[in-house]
């Protein structure tokens, strides 16, 4: 027998604890985060009431912080669903405790990101005009506009990633239903939708997840490509670039993994999940991060080098300020944050620890925000006719709203962890069982798995006494 009943009880106990027991720290954290979010909402209300001019935007810099946040959060959203889907399809064994933490990031980051095109609108109360619906005013979206492509892409991605997140939660909610008492039992009885766990249900769930994993990868790629086309389709110097699609997708996955590592590190510490989110996970994700850092460097070199070599007047007017002009401090900070620091930390095995990957991820999240800012603002400041050039300085409303989004992300995550087991319990159980039945290929033996890491939780592998064929 692989997992005995004690193991299962312990696993249930460990992973359901955050749902049933709430410390004072939770309330304090939720309160503080909620206050920041409320202040940010008030700032947006002030912008609506007083007029858009309270933001720092001007002519010619019509897009700045808000669109930076939009691109940044949509990028972060590539953490989850994309990575989780790839790991599922590749059947990476270590993925099981990671997938749900990642998928949650996707859903919430997408919601936050998708709110920015609305926040940045001059007349946000009319945002629904982007939706194709017949009206007496004959308002119809212009399908040629990349913003309408955004609308469709984000709708599809949000639907897909929410489905991808929620389907495997159903069995875990059924587990909570069985373990809970009082109002929680009633709540989870409804949420579990009457899930029992018949072979038919398990089979349908697995098939659906497989289809979703296949479908969500091209959607995720298309979403950030289309976000990049918001810029690349406009004849603005240094926006109008063919490299933007893959460059944005690579950057999105890059920042997404960094966000995932940060989220995992916090969960591990706060929820005492040291036995489940092990250094092995941080090591593996750190390797992925290192690879994406190199990809990112490759793209930015490809972009900058071709511009510099082409030496086109209007592009050079944008290029030099980022290299040695007013944007140079930001630019070289970005290079340090996205490449130098992560490269040094992540390429040295001894530094690729939990703490090391967290440091690298923190600089990457900062660096990727700066990257988006540098993509958007310098080209707008210096578009073609020099007489119309301008400069942009953020004003408090924009800074408060930006800070509010980070608080909103943390708050949503916090609440999610209170209501859903953040590690997919049934998948973890199934994974442990599968481990013992399937002989481990020699090629994989070098990468120690969850099961083989010394673990005090009792999740140790028993004798593989069962020899039935596995399909």
């Amino acid at each position: 027998m692989v997992m005995n009943r004690d193991d299962i009880a312990r696993l249930n106990e460990d992973l359901l604890r955050p749902l049933f027991r709430t410390s004072g720290r939770f309330y304090w954290a939720a309160l503080i985060l909620a206050l920041i979010v409320i202040v940010a909402l008030a700032a947006w209300g002030y912008q609506l009431w007083a007029g858009f001019g309270v933001a720092g935007l001007n002519r010619p810099v019509y897009w700045a912080f808000y669109i930076t946040n939009f691109v940044f959060w949509i990028g972060i959203s590539h953490a989850g669903t994309l990575i989780s889907a790839i790991l599922r399809l590749a059947n990476a064994r270590w993925r099981r405790p990671v997938t749900r933490c990642a998928e949650v990031i996707t859903v919430f980051a997408l919601m936050i990101g998708a709110s920015f095109p609305v926040i940045h609108l001059g007349r946000p109360w009319l945002a629904f005009w982007l939706f194709p619906y017949p009206s007496e005013r004959r308002i119809w979206p212009n399908f040629r506009s990349p913003l309408v492509w955004d609308f469709f892409a984000i709708t599809t991605y949000l639907t897909g990633s929410t489905t991808f997140l929620l389907l495997p939660i159903i069995p875990d909610w059924a587990l909570v239903r069985d373990k809970a008492k009082g109002w929680r039992r009633k709540l989870y009885s409804v949420l579990a939708l009457g899930w029992r766990g018949t072979p038919r249900q398990w089979s349908r769930l697995e098939t659906a997840m497989h289809i979703m994993a296949v479908a969500i990868i091209p959607v995720a790629v298309s979403v950030h490509t289309i976000v990049s086309w918001d810029f690349a389709m406009a004849p603005v110097p240094m926006w109008h670039s063919t490299v933007f699609g893959p460059y944005f997708v690579a950057g999105a996955i890059f920042s997404g993994i960094a966000a995932l590592i940060l989220a995992m590190a916090i969960l591990r510490k706060v929820l005492h999940l040291e036995d489940y989110l092990t250094p092995l996970h941080f090591d593996n994700l750190g390797k992925l991060l290192l690879m994406m850092s190199l990809f990112w460097l490759y793209f930015i070199v490809a972009e900058r080098l071709t511009v510099w070599y082409g030496n086109e007047t209007s592009e050079m007017a944008v290029y030099w300020p980022t290299q040695r002009g007013p944007f140079a401090p930001l630019y070289w900070t970005m290079i340090g944050c996205n490449f130098l620091v992560p490269f040094i930390i992540l390429s040295i095995k001894q530094l690729r620890t939990v703490a090391g990957t967290v440091v690298a991820s923190s600089t990457i999240v900062v660096g990727m925000w700066i990257e988006r800012f540098l993509i958007i603002v310098p080209p707008l400041e210096r578009k073609y006719l020099p007489f119309a050039w301008g400069t942009y300085h953020p004003r408090p409303v924009e800074i408060i709203i930006t800070a509010g989004t980070f608080a909103a992300m943390a708050l949503l995550y916090l609440l999610f962890v209170k209501f859903v087991p953040i590690i997919s319990i049934w998948e973890l159980k199934a994974g442990v069982r599968q481990e013992s039945v399937v002989p481990i290929p020699a090629s994989l033996l070098r990468a120690p798995d969850l099961i083989e890491s010394p673990s005090p939780s009792g999740l140790t592998r028993g004798p593989a006494g069962f020899s039935r064929e596995v399909s």
């Binding site: 007083a50 001059g122 946000p124 945002a127 119809w140």
Partner: protein, 234 residues
Amino acid sequence: MDHKWSMVVDLDRCTGCEACVVACRAENNVPTAGEDEAARGRVIHWIRVERYWEGEFPNPRVRFRPVLCQQCDAAPCEPVCPTYASYHTPEGLNAQIYNRCIGTRYCGNACPYTVRYFNFFNPVWDKPLHLQLNPDVSIRQVGIMEKCTFCVQRIKAAEIQAKAEKRDLIEGEFTTACAQACPPKALVFGDLNDPQSEVSRLNRSNRATKLLEEVGTRPSVTYLERGTWRGEKT
């Protein structure tokens, strides 16, 4: 016959007096921004006179270039608008439908001439300017884009008048506010589809160029200039 409205800007005539800017502001109800907001780059002027300095002190030379919406045939602002607020009229004008605009400001970014203006606040006029608003032109509220319309209200009025009198438009019957106000007659407005018109004649000039022609927008505004802009000697 369809019209193809066009403007010719003779840079060799322009004195940089900015009468066109003032006339446009009065004709089209363009709000004033005030000093602070103007310094922040929020000023709206559908036509602006760009100043470029040549040479070093003590022999500097200033060149003027009035820049207004170029009413492009292949306008970058049009396809990017998600709500068709920026669209192409059958007469080839580049129209902005204020009621449809939701303020994405994408058109403003896509425009290579930076001639599209955003209303950062509800419009205000210093007294007594509020008493001279043009009833033919709607006022734009906060959060929407606006730009030069080639004085579409004057075009429409003349067309309606001509239709009522069952005749074709007569050359010179009307013109835009900026062209009307220009003392050296540097701005000329007319129908490019009429081969006899003044703009058609000027468009055939060997001084004729287009602004930022390399971006491929096919503008309806033509600039007349001797070669010195390109650093050539005449």
